[in-house]
Structure formats: structure tokens, C-alpha cells
């Protein structure tokens, strides 16, 4: 039965739309449980209605919520005093925290590490690049998906609370952020390039090549400063991503035309 949630959870965002987001996928994942626990038509209808509502959480950690919801549905079908509304309350309260951590770990760190390694192969024209990328990303991702499905069904929400309060969650996030930052730093140096072609004549044969001086100060000083400046604009000035891209295009061509680069 848990395997059903695991396999069905892969499709959670398949028909993604602004009305339901992952709602239909959440319901789809729970249908085997609903059919098993609720033989009476009315009960089945209320369970389906509960889970067709709007849902969104990073999908490979969201299976915890699915497992938990399934275990609560089981309780609900067995015990009269169980408050069915608490199922959706718990779901709603877990989406935010799970997405926050899930997005950072999987989008911000794991995907970046996988992409960084694969890009090395891709730049050399090695056809293994996409395969390496998919393996590095998906093996931990699928393992997490399965592990959290089981965990959600068996241990419940209290476990997550204790994970937070004991400080283990903070520890994990910090370690992942370190890995992410080192990788992003490396990729900045690898992918962001800028070389100025400015030269000053010092009289006679001597010329002053600006790029050489910049390199003596700090290799890659312009790329790292430029990246941090973009970061500053995006985070502190809340600049729109698309606008920033447009500005970079305009300034890049402008620098080129006036002969700085």
C-alpha cells in the first residue's frame, strides 16, 4: 500500500495548474487508501473532497505529508472521535516548512552540485553529461521520497517537531548550505567571465594592460564582484529577475561597443 503512495507521488504535479497545483496528485496518491478504509459512499466522498483541495510542497519531501495523511485517514476510519478536519489542518501546516527545506536542499544544493559536475563533462562534449546529471540528482531524490513516505506513515508529525527542536534540522540545513555555497562559488569562477581589453599607452613601447593588473589584484575579481552585485540587487533591492537580465544584456553590448570589453 505504501508503495502505491510512493509511485503515485511521482505524478503529483503532472497537471499543474493554478486551481489545484498538486491537489489532484495528492488525491490520486491517497485513492488506494481511501477505497480501502471507506466502504460507505458518503465517507468516501468526504475523504476525496478533503484531498482534492489545493496542495503544494516540494514533491520528493512532500511524500511525508502524504504518508501522514494516509495514516490519519486510517485513524479516522477506525475511531469515531477522530476529527477529520484535523487532517487538512496538519497538511496545510506542513506544506510551508517542508517546501522551505525541500526547495533549498533539492533545488538549491543537490541540483546545483549535479549540474556543476555534469557541466564539466558537457563542456568537453562528453555524451555522459546528461546521464551523470540525472543519476546524481535522482538517486538521493528518489531515496528521500521513499524514506519519507514510510516515515510519514509510521512516525507522524511529532517526529518532525522533535527533529526541529533538537536542532538536528538546523544542522542539516547548515551543512547543505555550506556545500551549496562552495559549489556556487566554484561555478561562479567557472562560468562567469569578463575580460577587459582596455590598454593605456605609457609612452614608448610600454603599455598598461588593465586586465593584467586586475588579475594581479585578484583572479576573477570582476566576475565575483559582478555576481555579488547582482545578488545585492535581487535580494536587497528586490529587483525583478527579468529586468536584471535585460539590464545585463544592454550593458554587456554597451561595454563591448565602447571598447571596455
Amino acid at each position: 500500500m505504501l508503495k502505491q503512495i510512493f509511485f503515485r507521488s511521482f505524478t503529483v504535479f503532472a497537471p499543474f495548474n493554478y486551481a489545484k497545483q498538486g491537489g489532484s496528485g495528492f488525491c490520486y496518491a491517497l485513492i488506494p487508501f481511501i477505497n480501502k478504509f471507506y466502504k460507505e459512499k458518503n465517507e468516501k466522498i468526504s475523504a476525496l473532497t478533503r484531498h482534492i483541495t489545493w496542495y503544494n510542497a516540494t514533491q520528493n519531501v512532500g511524500t511525508f505529508i502524504m504518508g501522514l495523511a494516509a495514516s490519519m485517514e486510517k485513524e479516522n476510519s477506525e475511531k469515531d472521535y477522530f476529527n477529520a478536519e484535523s487532517i487538512n489542518t496538519v497538511k496545510a501546516s506542513l506544506m510551508g516548512p517542508f517546501s522551505g527545506i525541500g526547495d533549498t536542499l533539492f533545488w538549491g544544493v543537490l541540483r546545483v552540485v549535479a549540474a556543476g559536475i555534469a557541466m564539466t563533462f558537457g563542456e568537453q562534449g562528453n555524451p555522459l553529461a546528461p546521464i551523470i546529471f540525472l543519476i546524481i540528482y535522482n538517486v538521493p531524490s528518489i531515496a528521500t521520497r521513499w524514506y519519507l513516505t514510510k516515515l510519514g506513515y509510521t512516525v507522524g508529525a511529532k517526529y518532525i517537531e522533535s527533529l526541529y527542536s533538537s536542532g538536528l534540522m538546523g544542522l542539516l540545513t547548515k551543512a547543505a548550505s555550506i556545500l551549496g555555497l562552495i559549489m556556487i562559488g566554484g561555478m561562479t569562477a567557472d562560468s562567469v567571465t569578463f575580460e577587459t581589453s582596455l590598454e593605456f599607452s605609457l609612452g614608448g613601447d610600454q603599455t598598461l594592460v588593465l586586465q593584467d593588473i586586475l588579475d594581479q589584484i585578484f583572479v576573477g575579481i570582476v566576475p565575483i564582484c559582478f555576481t555579488l552585485f547582482c545578488f545585492y540587487l535581487l535580494s536587497k533591492k528586490k529587483m525583478n529577475f527579468a529586468l536584471l537580465i535585460a539590464l545585463v544584456v544592454v550593458f554587456g553590448i554597451f561595454f563591448s561597443v565602447i571598447g571596455i570589453a
Partner: protein, 274 residues
């Protein structure tokens, strides 16, 4: 006639590639098949130029790395930009810089298209509610996959039309581009990944950990390590830090559990950890 046939089959192949990568990504657990590093080589392979696809895919990956749709908020569609940029680049013979500069506006257009389709598909919301109210679980499942199919067929149709209609004008455009623009695009292509990395930094940045960003940068700028070595280095540093933190945490938790008289010590350790 021959050119029309070539364009037609190229458009068809790209539509299929897009459907598999983008639609497949969302059908099978966001497996990242829609990332440029996968889409680029796939489109290249189908159009008979795997090498260009691989190299463009790697460059576009850097460009689109920050295009993350957190919580369903779409800004860019990397696979849309990649499919069209790689296809146009191969079909028109434009170079890498051309593809890189083209990919961003196309990615933005793709993002807009995605928002539009997501709004359009929201019309199916009430049908799901109705099916649930009827207790009809088969209908819920049918809609679940039906809307997926419809959605990604729609995207693929747009790709097909864009390539079929766009290949000739884009080729002419490339051939008539003034030199200063072409050179400028090279500068732009070098700078644009910075925006993507800035976007990622927004996610994982913390003032206390900023030095680790510099460490990664130094490892490549001065030590000239390949990225796979940087990833390993990062893993080791992260693991070492986690072990130190774990020890600290154990001490702290132990102190918390022991007698109340030890309060001073606990406070000290908390200060140290924070």
C-alpha cells in the same frame, strides 16, 4: 521544397524532445529532465549534432541555473529557451554566443506561456471538485492524466510552430546581424550566468557562511580545480562541519538534561552555538 521538409521534420523532432523532457519531467517526479544539460544534448542528438547540443546544454545550464520556480511562481522556462536556442543555433549555423543570447528572451517567453497555460488549466479545477463530490475516483484519475497530456501537447505544439515558422527568419536575422551586436553578445554571454548564481545565492546565502562561497571561488580561480573536485571538497567540508555541530549539539542537549544548577554552562554554550 527540401528546405521546407527539413524544417518540418526538425520542428517535429524538437516538439517530441520537448514533450519528453518537459512533460516527462512533470509526469515522473520532477526528475530534472527539463534542465538544459539534458534538453540540449537531446535536441542536438535528434537534429544530428550531438556535440553542439552538449556544449550548448552545458553553457545554458549555467545561464538557467537560477531559474527556479519556487512554490509554482514561474519566471523562466529553461527547457523552452533551451530547445529553441539549440534548434535555431543548429539550423541557422549561429554560434554559441548567439544561442546563449537567444535563450534568455525565449526562456522568458516560455515562462509567460507557462503562466498562461497554468491559468487556462485552472478551468479544470471545478471538474475535479465535482468528481470528488460524486465519489468518482476514476474520473479524478482520468482528469489527472488527461490534463497533463493536454497541457504538454499544447506546449509541444507551440515549439513545433515556433521552429517551423521561425527557422528561416531567424537564420536571415543571424546572417544580417551587425558585428558589434555579435561581439557584444559574447560579453553578455559571459556575464549572464552571474544573474543565475545570484538567484541561487538568494536561496542558500547566510552572512555567517559567506566565506564558504569565497572558498569555492578560490578553488576554481586560483587552484583551477575541476568542478567535480569542488563538489567533493564541498562535501568534505560540509560533513566535517556537521560532525562538529553534532558534537556541540550533544553537549548542549546533555547539559539541558542534567541538573538545573548547570544553567550558566548551558547559556554559554548556547551563545557559542548561535
Amino acid at each position: 521544397m527540401n528546405i521546407v521538409m527539413t524544417t518540418l521534420s526538425a520542428a517535429f523532432l524538437c516538439a517530441i524532445a520537448y514533450f519528453i523532457c518537459f512533460g516527462g519531467n512533470w509526469l515522473i517526479g520532477q526528475n530534472m529532465a527539463d534542465q538544459p544539460i539534458v534538453v540540449g544534448p537531446f535536441v542536438g542528438l535528434l537534429l544530428g549534432d550531438l556535440q553542439t547540443g552538449l556544449i550548448l546544454g552545458a553553457s545554458l545550464q549555467a545561464l538557467f541555473i537560477g531559474a527556479i520556480n519556487v512554490g509554482g511562481a514561474v519566471s523562466l522556462n529553461p527547457s523552452f529557451g533551451t530547445t529553441l536556442a539549440v534548434a535555431f543555433s543548429i539550423l541557422s549555423g549561429g554560434g554559441e554566443q548567439f544561442a546563449l543570447a537567444l535563450a534568455v528572451p525565449l526562456g522568458l517567453l516560455g515562462g509567460l506561456l507557462e503562466i498562461g497555460v497554468n491559468i487556462l488549466c485552472a478551468a479544470f479545477g471545478p471538474l475535479w471538485d465535482k468528481a470528488a463530490a460524486e465519489g468518482n475516483d476514476k474520473k479524478i484519475v482520468g482528469l489527472h492524466f488527461g490534463v497533463w497530456l493536454l497541457k504538454y501537447l499544447l506546449f509541444s505544439a507551440v515549439i513545433f510552430i515556433a521552429i517551423f515558422a521561425g527557422a528561416t527568419p531567424v537564420t536571415n536575422f543571424v546572417n544580417n546581424l551587425p558585428d558589434f551586436i555579435t561581439e557584444g553578445l559574447g560579453v553578455v554571454a559571459g556575464l549572464l550566468p552571474a544573474v543565475g548564481f545570484a538567484m541561487l545565492l538568494k536561496m542558500v546565502w547566510s552572512g555567517k557562511l559567506a566565506l564558504f562561497y569565497l572558498l569555492g571561488f578560490l578553488a576554481v580561480a586560483y587552484l583551477e580545480l575541476p568542478l567535480i573536485a569542488v563538489a567533493t571538497l564541498g562535501l568534505i567540508v560540509a560533513f566535517a562541519q556537521a560532525m562538529i555541530d553534532k558534537d556541540m549539539l550533544d553537549i548542549k542537549n546533555q547539559a539541558n538534561n542534567s541538573s538545573i544548577g548547570d544553567n550558566d554552562q548551558t547559556d554559554e554554550e548556547e551563545d557559542f552555538l548561535s
